[in-house]
Symmetry: C2
């Protein structure tokens, strides 16, 4: 986890909640995130991550990092600026082939591309390092900003022109090693979605493959806000996308068409066996134990990190606002001071300092010019999992009124119990 401030006082936070999102914003995720002050819209598909949004993004990134490191991933960082010659090798430089290029020029008029993905660049780079069977397998990945010149961008942070993506690539000696890793990362992806709170709605979905496998797989999260349509066989826990919805495929999978239920969904990840599609043209090969030159097998595995954040908002919000799961919430507790009584304010400050010194992440609504009603509404909009209220009444009754974001009614607990609950995470 990157170095994060434990406690922030709302009086010192420059973002504020708003009643309305910009008029041109039609997606629920961006509307809520803008109203709550998590992101700022620079233009369609281009969003600044404000302090609260940046914290959420950081936590999602760290969950992904842990899961990728756990299966052998090694993190690095490639560049946005990319050379024409690298992209020409497999024929993806032309705007006719790739319709989302952003291009720019050096002073000497050389045209560069802004990376929309990094397959070619990485394979090209690895030709300088990989030559022997001893060098494989490897699983490099990055969490980095990508650029895609989308014609339309109306899904908030779910379809960005500039967005954060995790892309991992596997390079193995054989198709079998590729197949094996592919199954491993499939499980790691599901762990990511589960830890981010959307696992129960996310399906591993059959999609069209390529030369090196019949299918690729998408991770699709059921949501009315989705741009995709998938077909679910609930009993088998299988989903297929439209591309592969043929009688032949269904019969192979042992699925009857009448058992499928159509749902709208958001693609939160995809995994693909590229085999030697990129490695052969670049001459990325290795010498085996017998001294023979062999092709390297490649797989590519993507998670749209900002899209994942938007999906959580789409899926877990209610009519009052966002509902962050504890794992990626900007703070664990939203502490609210109600009223202007100096003794109550003093008590609230003691609670704040105690929580922070115990290592709990707290957002403290210490504002004195905002009504209780507004503070409650803001807390619901911001969606921090636990609300803790210090008021004249709570102090009189011996503590702090705590309430989960998902609960209707709260309860009064002494501060020692609050700290204990937070530290043992049994809330």
């Amino acid at each position: 986890m990157r170095s994060m401030i434990k406690g922030i006082k709302q009086s010192e936070l420059f973002t504020k909640t708003r009643k309305e999102a910009p008029a041109d914003e039609v997606s629920k995720n961006a509307e809520l995130l803008i109203r709550a002050g998590f992101v700022h819209k620079e233009m369609a598909g281009v969003y600044t991550y404000l302090p609260l949004g940046f914290r959420v993004l950081g936590k999602i990134q760290d969950i992904i990092r842990e899961e990728m490191n756990g299966i052998g991933g090694v993190e690095m960082m490639m560049t946005a600026l990319q050379k024409e010659e690298v992209w020409k090798k497999v024929g993806r430089w032309s705007d006719e082939t790739v319709d989302v290029w952003f291009k720019t020029k050096l002073k000497d008029d050389t045209t560069l591309g802004l990376g929309f993905t990094h397959d070619e660049q990485l394979v090209n780079l690895l030709t300088e390092y990989i030559s022997s069977y001893k060098d494989l397998p490897i699983y490099p990945y990055q969490i980095q900003t990508k650029f895609r010149n989308e014609l339309r961008s109306k899904s908030g942070i779910m379809r960005g022109r500039e967005f954060v993506m995790k892309d991992l690539y596997s390079f193995t000696r054989t198709q079998e090693d590729l197949d094996k890793f592919y199954e491993e990362i499939k499980k790691a992806y599901m762990r990511v979605y589960t830890r981010c709170g959307i696992g129960h709605r996310t399906y591993v979905t059959f999609a069209s493959g390529g030369t090196f496998s019949q299918y690729s797989h998408e991770f699709q999260t059921i949501s009315e806000a989705g741009e995709d349509n998938i077909y679910i066989e609930e009993n088998k826990g299988i989903a297929v996308n439209e591309e592969v919805l043929t009688d032949e495929n269904l019969s192979e999978m042992g699925i009857k068409r009448e058992d499928l239920v159509a749902k709208k969904s958001i693609e939160v990840g995809n995994i693909f066996k590229q085999g030697t599609k990129y490695t052969d043209p670049f001459g990325l090969s290795y010498t085996d134990e017998e001294g023979n030159k062999q092709s390297v097998y490649m797989g590519g595995y993507g998670i749209g990190v900002t899209r994942l954040m938007g999906t959580v908002v789409e899926v877990l919000s209610d009519d009052k606002g966002i509902i962050w799961p504890e794992s990626i919430a900007p703070f664990s507790v939203h502490l609210l001071l109600l009223g202007v009584d100096p003794d109550v304010a003093k008590e609230a400050n003691i609670v704040y300092e105690s929580l922070v010194s115990e290592g709990v992440e707290v957002l403290f609504d210490d504002r004195t010019d905002v009504s209780a009603g507004e503070k409650f509404a803001d807390a619901d909009l911001l969606g921090i999992p636990l609300r803790a209220v210090v008021s004249a009444r709570s102090v009189k009754e011996g503590g702090i009124e705590i309430k989960k974001r998902t609960e209707e009614k709260g309860q009064i607990v002494p501060i020692s119990e609050l700290i204990n609950l937070l530290k043992t995470k049994i809330l």
Copy 2:
């Protein structure tokens, strides 16, 4: 600190050391970093950070984060894609005014800029959040990728066309508050350079100011690789750059021209009081306690993060390779297994596992097809602060031979002592 793998075995790391850097690479920092496998050159001024380099970059970023958070900074993340209208406000859109623009186009032919800095974008954004004296002061910052279309880029990672920068901006109610914060961040910057191991060579340097102050300040690190020239008055601990080297300025500072020593230096940071230069044109103002509208005062504070990494390499290397300070080294220990004796290998693996389980960051050279001489040369090139050798001899003598990168001779210690030394950081 972001989630990082504690231990990596060199046999599993895809990067390798090389004898030669690319022929077109003339800077020492890039030459060493490429040879050691920390970065890969994509084109002049554009470098991929390979796993080892990425670790160093992450550690530098976290030091900067801690220091910025410590003086009230709040992290966020702005975008690379930026709108013409925002940049036109203060007249920095045109290529005649700003000669480092990279520009690109949306599908509808709208031209966008790739951010070379973020003053305008941030001020524009804040007009939606700042309106009252209660909203100030604020100190937002980001660590983010910037793009500058340099005509020439021959200083390795010290002058990137695509590079990582930390930019913090202060917004205060008065010039006095600006002046006060300016002095605070000046100290925080020096703490960053000290923690990164180059504080002893880095001078706060007077540079030209603007409407809102006579001077701005640069942080200049003495190095023959520098593109700048500064003049140091060693007794007073003051440095001035060429722009402000006038008799009038010197007499004001109480400096005699003959006491100045000229040195080449690298600008590793700069701080500037912008006052109301950007805030007024954008209408970023606040209402004070009496209901009067007032200008917001702005300051801008930059550290080139990748340049700082390059500077450390320039300044702390020797003819054998890089010498990382412990604080930003990719690993704390470089463990070397020598020879092919299975008992010795077993012992080395036990040492590796013990260190990792104790939370020590270890790079383990477990390769079996590389000679002792090559391993020693690699260790010197990579520059991890402590080398720990397990060989038939060291095992016979009861432990591990440890040697600092800066020392000539090592000593044999038992593993318990090595762990103890590392944990108490008294090495």
